[in-house]
Symmetry: C2
């Protein structure tokens, strides 16, 4: 017999993130981390952390970090919201803006946390099929809705939608909030971001993360860019949830990262170069590889099933990601690591496939 | 004319935390921080932080921290949930357990975040008056309800409810989840905590924080202790909200703090000693001081209004907290700082009151 209080428990099926093995010999290409580590300026500060400052609450506005990001992107601090990774930022946005009776829309192949947030927050949703080449079709988003969200580049496909496609969706949905999740945009060609469109459209929110291009997944920093009014609404919900979400190390080290743009750009170029080389190697092995604008590739093997390659790679100490849903079951999502790591992956695949 | 999307914004009135002035000359006694700073073991690790580890996501289970806390309190890791400060833990608990059609109950004078969470999450609530000596009366909590929460010691009164009172409330509400928010319990006499009762009552959750006794408000660490089933339910909601809430520095430094119990106990004793001295000084000045089991006192001046003392103290560079609601407007909440800080407060009050 179960207790009466059990009737009032919010029962949810949580998101399952990629494994985080602790064995350092494992080539870890399953959660789209950036292998180069943060800027040396971050290390300088990490070497001189005075624990005495931890006795005080952090600045609840994370002002230094917000101002650094605002300056970096050419916005006002009032146009930036920071959170504990882009997951926290996105969850706050779902809570703040997706309160309509109408369904929210997102692609049928996309970041698998979107349906989890919707279920948890009891938001109705409908998934919208991608086309046969895994592209988003703007016309499919011209239906009544309670909000729209999609990543660009999309995950796990790595495919970029053009600015025209993205703007078409935003412009056709002025009655809804449109969230463009740009977690991987720094790996796309320059000029792909739509952060500038937050000035043109009052219904647009763009979300970014430190976990990929900034190589700081361990610090948990994400942010949103939008007009002041939208940012104020998100902040009101945040301050109704947890006054102090960003801890002191994340504020200090996150600020330092933004201030070293040279290192940042250099490492992104390195990853893009490795991605192009790795893509060619996969193609030589007969893989179908979707055109990637991210720090990972979504690739389908020819002679073995994706599930077989996933398992065999794991046995060989190479962790990649496999999503066994019907639409993704033929593909593997492989993070772009260091050159030497990717060479080992190619060697393994040459032997196995 | 406002946009259509505005109709679907969750509009909330956020919690307002105490000010965080950056001027180091200010005597900051307004957010119940612990002036002694974290353990030297925390400093040792803070001195050798390798930023390269930040490129990886943190352990999403915060396993080291959870195991350290479990060992410290004599529980299993499965009986511990950690979050971004106790505010994050409490918000998760509200989301997870307070989903009844019945009202949740909490005292009419209490932590002012409770009604904010309830409003934000659209949970019905009813406040229960304290008695004339600011005590919780268990019989008032023997009414149908959708859950119960109260801090012990209570805030901002600093008054401790006895174990008997707390157990009476838990035992009389086996159909509801009862959350005892023990943010300040380390400053109460030993044996006041009810963490052991989580073994006796399946409806009890006890919440703790690093922000007060552990002097680590800047790291944002809080935790809950309850039976495995309850902790599993909270974790399911957490993993439906943000997979990785605890960042790498908070896991590493939070673990180190628990491992230095000698320093921890020594500083708590120092604060209790200062509290007794300061209480006597306030009484000599004619203040009414409620009996404190926390690292702050709730005190009412005799010759001036609390609002007048609050403002004058602020002008003099001494920040305390003032809640102008009808039931609290005659009192000031003053954090116990260092001896020399409290002496300056007494000197100021001698001159002003």
């Amino acid at each position: 017999m179960s207790a009466v209080w059990e009737q009032n428990v919010r029962r949810v099926v949580p998101y399952v993130a990629g494994e985080q093995p602790t064995d350092k010999n494992i080539i870890k290409l399953n959660t789209n981390e950036n292998p180069y580590g943060p800027s040396p300026k971050v290390q300088e500060l990490a070497d001189h952390m005075d624990s005495d400052i931890f006795k005080k609450y952090p600045d609840q506005t994370a002002g230094d970090l917000v101002r650094a990001l605002a300056k970096y992107h050419g916005f006002k601090p009032e146009e930036i919201f920071v959170g504990v990774g882009s997951d926290d930022v996105l969850a706050m946005c779902f809570m703040t803006f997706f309160n309509s009776d109408k369904e929210i829309l997102f692609p049928n192949i996309t970041y698998s946390f979107y349906p989890v947030w919707a279920e948890m927050l009891r938001i109705k949703y409908r998934t919208v099929p991608l086309d046969e080449q895994f592209n988003i079709r703007p016309e499919d988003y011209k239906a009544p809705n309670g909000g729209i969200i999609f990543p660009n580049p999309n995950a796990p496909t790595a495919i970029l939608a053009s600015r025209e496609v993205v703007e078409d969706i935003i412009a056709s949905n002025r009655d809804s909030i449109v969230i463009v999740d740009e977690a991987y945009i720094d790996f796309a060609e320059e000029g792909s971001s739509v952060i500038d469109l937050t000035r043109k459209y009052d219904n647009l929110i763009v979300v970014r993360t430190y976990s990929k291009s900034r190589s700081m997944a361990g610090l948990r920093i994400g942010y949103a860019i939008a007009n002041e009014k939208l940012i104020k609404y998100i902040n009101d919900v945040k301050y109704s949830y947890n006054s102090y979400t960003m801890n002191t190390p994340s504020i200090i080290l996150g600020t330092a990262s933004v201030e070293d743009d040279e290192y940042f750009k250099e490492k992104i170029e390195a990853i893009k170069k490795t991605r192009e080389w790795f893509t060619e190697e996969l193609k030589k092995l007969g893989f179908k590889v979707l055109p990637s604008s991210a720090n990972f590739v979504f690739a389908s093997p020819k002679t073995k099933t994706a599930a077989e390659v996933f398992e065999a790679a794991k046995q060989a100490g190479i962790y990649v990601r496999y999503f066994k849903a019907p639409l993704t079951k033929d593909f593997l999502r492989i993070t772009i690591g260091l050159d030497e790591e990717m060479k080992k992956v190619v060697d393994f695949l040459k032997g196995f496939c």
